[in-house]
Amino acid sequence: MDTFVQQLINGLTIGSIYALIALGYTMVYGILRLINFAHGDIYMLGAYAGFIIATSMGFAANPSAIGFAVTLVGSMAIAAAVGMAIERFAYRPVRKYSKMTTLITAIGMSLFIEYLFVFIFSGTPRSFPQLLPNENITLFGNATISTSQILIFVVSMLLMFLLQWIIYKTKIGKAMRAVSFNLNSAKLMGINTNFVIAFTFALGSALAAAGGVLTAQYNPKIEPLMGIMTGLKAFVAAVLGGIGNIPGAVLGGLLIGAAETLVVGYGGYIGVPSTFRDAVAFAILILVLLLRPAGLLGSNVQEKV
């Protein structure tokens, strides 16, 4: 029982990170029908931005809650700016072209960010400084939860509620929903769609960067290629929940995270070795897409002639 709870806690920790990144995928897909492959790299960029802020402003030497907050918000702001720049200079010019073209542009952008970071920071991993004291709290038996895990839960929860508030209670959120419903009609209604799309990218990138900084508090090793697998799994999470669906992305992220750690913990009993960890997300994805293509919470769209 202790180990099960422990696995679940670990799984939900990773799952919250996946959820934060998946939100960016799902929002961009909802609005542009574009799989933004560079999104996983924004998560990496967020971690590096946090690393630079934390080391250059001296938060690494004397950890404090304020230092963490400044690092988090700072890296979110940088990522938001980068996200908007990517949209403006790479995606906007190809928006009207075919899906294949936009997808290749996204892949190109992803490669560009990865190789640029390898060039600047070299491929060797860096160690992200601990910004808040990290202790293990015993729940019961052998099951423990660390303060950094609590931090991940609390911060990601807050950010998700903030996102929910932005999307459902503000004017720009209403515009986002309108654009994702139908871009051209939204334009006809006087919505500045370019601004809305840029804002969506900023929002998604900020969430991914927050995910990067939070992960770095839990697992301090950061490297330029860390966003590839995580990004892909977050994307799988978005599809699992129903791409374009915001609560779906959160649900998908938590499910993927939990499934992954449970396979590592218990897969041996059903003949699935723990090295299949990375395959689990894809296996779930394939099953869901074949049985319920719209995802768990997505609605089926009837094809029209």
């Binding site: 294949m100 997808l103 560009f112 892909l232 299949f276």
Partner: protein, 349 residues
């Protein structure tokens, strides 16, 4: 006299491949040789041509968005490598009366058949359920299958697992180049046949094609299986030339690379796919030659930036020429157009 022309072409191709292959050997061809680096590039170009042309059949002509081609390449590579490691030596021994070269070629040909069949079977298993999906969803599923294939192979200890797998080096450039040409010819003939028309009709409008009586599911699966089989062949040749396999060679970045080739060259153009394969293989290597630039005591090594520049070129190509360099045109069409412009009208049939 078209058969005479064909035989001439075949002889010429064999001669060129033979000479190139001889030039790659340490002895060289009458004193002229190609160094190891250049011959490796030629090998990669030929393998990438197989991959790009076969993916083009699925993506470019049938319009099915598959981004998991490296998975089928991996299947072909590992299946044939296992075959060669287990049976290769005994077959070479039993065919030794043909001489060393011929005996090795026999094993390679069997290995190619094994790789192609296993990859085709996998293509069938993956294709039948996933080709019900469309667009992005199909793309994601193929990507997922490719990753699963890779991770499963990584966990099979019989083929080396995480330590890698060594393979006898049976494939020289002659065979690789030959199969690149075979792939081009086969795909070209498929595309220009009745079935090819059906495939293109699915790309243009699937519902209309179905209404016209095209069995879309069947054609889509067929194209997918054929494409997978050729990807498997590319894998076999890669395995037997590289002499070492590791699943890291088949990560989804490899699938992306193949997609980049066909998109840069022009989707739905065979010459485009070939051109794309050549560009994607050579461009990062050419960028190695960029000079260092020193500005105010700060040196930038542009050669280290080559992959960044490659990615930038990719993005810029997509922005300024989204249909790829050739679009759906073939090189032949362009020449024909020039000829047509020269000749007065009326003389053309």
């Amino acid at each position: 006299m078209s058969w005479l022309k064909n035989i001439g072409a075949v002889v010429a191709i064999f001669a060129v491949l033979y000479v190139l292959n001889a030039m790659m050997s340490s002895a060289g061809f009458f004193g002229t040789g190609i160094n190891d680096y250049q011959s490796r590039l030629l090998v990669f170009i030929a393998i990438n041509i197989i991959l790009a042309t076969s993916l083009n059949l699925i993506n470019g002509f049938t319009g099915q968005f598959s981004i998991g081609h490296a998975g089928f390449m991996a299947i072909g590579a590992y299946a044939s490598a296992y075959f060669s490691n287990v049976y290769g030596e005994s077959i070479v021994r039993s065919f030794s009366f043909l001489g060393e070269t011929a005996a090795v070629s026999v094993v390679l040909l069997i290995a190619i058949i094994v790789g192609a069949l296993v990859a085709a079977l996998m293509g069938l298993i993956v294709g039948i359920p996933s080709l019900r999906l469309k667009g992005d969803y199909l793309a994601i599923v193929t990507l997922g299958f490719a990753e699963i294939i890779r991770i499963v192979i990584l966990n099979i200890d019989a083929v080396g697992g995480a330590t890698g797998y060594s393979v006898p080096g049976y494939a020289n450039f002659f065979w690789i180049g030959l199969f690149a040409i075979v792939t081009i010819v086969v795909i070209n003939n498929i595309v220009n046949s009745d079935s090819g028309r059906a495939l293109v009709s699915i790309r243009e409008d699937e519902l209309a094609a179905e209404a016209m009586g095209v069995n879309t599911t069947r054609y889509k699966v067929t194209a997918f299986v054929i494409g997978s089989a050729f990807a498997g062949i590319a894998g076999v040749l890669f395995a037997h030339n590289n002499k070492f396999l590791h699943t890291n060679d088949f990560q989804f970045i490899k699938s992306f690379e193949i997609i980049i080739m066909i998109v840069i060259g022009g989707m739905g153009s065979i010459t485009g796919a070939i051109l794309g394969a050549i560009i994607v293989t050579l461009l990062p290597e050419l960028l190695r030659m960029l000079p260092d630039v020193t500005l105010g005591g700060f040196t930038v090594r542009f050669a280290d930036l080559r992959l960044v520049i490659f990615a930038l070129i990719l993005i810029v190509t997509m922005i300024v020429r989204p249909q790829g360099l050739l679009g759906t045109m073939e090189i032949g069409h362009i020449f024909k157009r020039f000829r047509r412009a020269d000749k007065p009208t009326g003389g053309m049939k």
